[in-house]
Symmetry: C2
């Protein structure tokens, strides 16, 4: 357990593959959990990975495949697996994982694989799930669950669990439906264990439960599962009929992915870059926001060019260009990330815009006074006292303006349905750079009568 992948281990595996030493490889792989084998596959080329996968049971193989990242999986399946081979694995995957895998395939392969499935229930599940977007409850759910009628008994329920034991890996609870398949409530597995065999399910059902419709956003599902500490949440259609469930392990992956996306958005990386992507992919992921930054800075340059005259008269003015830009940027990113955070926590009452801005301006004024004084002190230290009021007033103005921008931008983006985390990154720093410089030279122009 707690397997750690080392270079030596990979070398040993690669050598064994080179020697086609199936027996040794099999005994090595027997020691590993499928997610560890998935990590091992990242270190191999496609034909090596294909060879390894053929050595393990199809069921283990399916579990390994469901643990590989989408990109790597697509590449692996594309060049090294026939549709027949893929269908064998898809037959054994949970329906949600099966749909994810199929969605990554070219449409022709997808149709071939579905046609080749031996488990016709699975094929039907997949066709049901394929038409949901992947970030709403319908796209996140799996069809595998234990469902019983309210009129059945506990022992009939146990029989149903036994019948589906292979299909439904994690049970958590049994969903109780009426004759129209409408969701009435749940009975936890613990209740099943403790109840008498002939008890009617309808008598022990908990009907006060949390469920979602297929159209609910993934973020809201995550918030609900987290708020109510749920292991699984049932998904229903508008008529209240039970369609599937979302389990917590899938939600954990969803939450982690979203957190990563936010962190990337705030750092100005587009797409879903990872350090081990190719040089070209990495350069492409960074370029858009770098260019935005450059364009913003060049607009700043144009502003500064207007004050060339003032600058030749008083070159010391240039010394405070960086502090205006960077303070604006820092304040902007701080403000917007707090707003992004409180947008993500939807459980409380929303504060009005006016109140928000008032509070944020007070905080800004407080901080502005402190850092304005610091910079003011520096002005005296370097012997440019005539710049005191220019630097002090500009910094104060920059902090307040940047706070405003940092508040309004994410709120606006959220309103129009764009991830507000994007606002917290380079966009806000670039905009505030520009605001900072313009404010500074404007104030210098007025106060210094240059």
């Amino acid at each position: 357990m707690n397997f750690e992948l080392t270079k030596e281990y990979v070398t040993m595996i690669v050598t064994a593959i080179g020697q086609q030493d199936g027996a040794q490889l099999k005994s090595e792989l027997d020691e590993l959990f499928p997610p560890d084998i998935a990590n091992l596959l990242y270190e191999l080329d496609g034909s090596q990975a294909h060879y390894l996968l053929q050595l393990v049971d199809t069921e283990i193989g399916a579990e390994i495949l469901s643990n590989i990242d989408a990109d790597e999986r697509t590449a692996l399946l594309k060049d090294h697996f026939t549709s027949e081979e893929i269908a064998q694995y898809v037959d054994l995957l949970d329906s949600d994982d099966a749909v994810d895998l199929l969605n990554e395939q070219p449409i022709q392969v997808r149709e071939e694989v579905i046609a080749l499935l031996e488990d016709r229930d699975q094929a039907r599940f997949i066709l049901d799930l394929l038409h949901y977007p992947d970030d709403v409850a319908g796209g996140l759910m799996q069809k595998e669950l234990i469902k019983v009628n309210a009129s059945s008994t506990v022992s009939e329920c146990v029989e149903e669990i036994r019948r589906q034991a292979e299909e439904v890996e994690k049970v958590y609870a049994v969903y109780v439906v009426d004759d129209d398949q409408k969701l009435l409530g749940i009975v936890s597995l613990k209740q099943i264990v403790l109840a008498r065999k002939n008890t009617r399910i309808g008598n022990i059902v908990t009907d006060d439960i949390v469920f979602v419709e297929t159209t609910r956003s993934g973020e809201e599902v995550a918030e609900l599962m987290q708020r109510y500490d749920l292991d699984a949440i049932p998904v229903v259609n508008v008529q209240g009929r039970l369609l599937g469930r979302i389990t917590i392990d899938d939600m954990v992956d969803f939450i982690t992915e979203k957190a990563e996306e936010d962190l990337q958005a705030i750092s100005g990386i587009t797409g879903e870059a990872e350090e081990d992507d190719s040089v070209w992919e990495l350069a492409k992921a960074r370029l858009p926001w770098l260019v935005v930054g450059v364009v913003g800075s060049l607009m700043g340059a144009t502003v500064i060019k207007q004050f060339e005259n003032e600058l030749s008269q008083m070159a010391a003015l240039a010394a405070f260009i960086p502090i205006m830009g960077s303070t604006g940027g820092n304040v902007g990113i701080q403000t917007s990330s707090l707003i992004v955070q409180s947008l993500a926590e939807k459980s409380g009452i929303t504060t009005g815009l006016g109140q928000r801005l008032l509070k944020i301006s007070t905080v800004a004024a407080l901080n502005g006074l402190i850092i304005g004084s610091l910079a003011g002190l520096y002005v005296y230290l370097i012997g440019e006292p005539q710049l005191f009021w220019v630097v002090f007033t500009s910094l104060l103005a920059v902090v307040v303006l940047a706070s405003f921008m940092g508040t309004i931008t994410p709120l606006l983006l959220d309103k129009v349905g764009i991830n507000p985390a994007i606002a917290s990154g380079p966009f806000i720093t670039t905009a505030n750079d520009l605001v900072g410089i313009s404010t500074y030279f404007g104030i210098a122009h007025v106060l210094l009568h240059l």
Copy 2:
């Protein structure tokens, strides 16, 4: 279900509290889940919250308290609850939640409450847990679990579940131990449901399981639970004796909290600020990094002051100060956030520093060439062609240098045990601001012979 808190609802509750209308309030609260009542309490003052909590069953009250944020809970308990009242709730909390709550209390209250507990098992659990730091497995685990000896039968196991049904809310699996309490493996609740009553637990135990020692970091526990899709993970001591378990709902909270901390670190916010904190708390959370930014920029100002002479001769030089600073900052934050991300994903093989830097420099050079050309074009447009090589070379150098800094800083911080996300925020932008400006003026000095 899917309760949404509105201003009208809060007003209605507050009015009812004012009229001491216990009956109406009770019937309102009966409709809500405990986490929703917790959200409602945030909108009330301490004595109103105290009044409401006294209206519900102690068990519901305990669940509500375990759902309130640490800060708010501390304030609420401090002024409005006696140690006797607190002890009533602590008796009914899961041991991990009980410890969290007690850790927030002054030491005297903590000792009083522990002495007042009626459930002596709970008191022992709490004393066991109190000495673990809160971010390692020992500090995250709860003592409540179902544990049976390998020699017992399935029906004895069911009896044990029944006996502890109230204590252990979520069972997931039964932990199997030997006579020395050493963890041998688990039997899932599903297996218990499906097994025959007289089967020996030792015959159906899965012994190939993932567990952690008490000293494992929370991040590693999260990574393991996520990698292996675990609902709960057993925690053992160095001798392998079973001490407790960590359930997935607590891990989801841990993951969300860490993601929020990273986002705040990267945005230059210290502590755990939220938009609804007080003005003073918010100002304090932002000030440290703002001051770092100011100090960095003033160091930049000092550099620029050295070139006052050059600036008076060629004021247009000042126009490119912002692009150097902001590009350095943007590249730095992009690079370091990718490094932070790959540090967080520990499952693969670690790339060597040399290889990392080589790849990152290639990406940097590629992007540097593109944005350098953009800025170079602008130099011609504004009619300052003599600045072309200065701006182009400086930008290229800045991008490469910033990439280096953005790679090395988080790696270094991670080595010495500091959260590398801190490096991705204002620290890296400030440092790169300074590097950018120095590089630019250095190159200008050499190339222009001013």
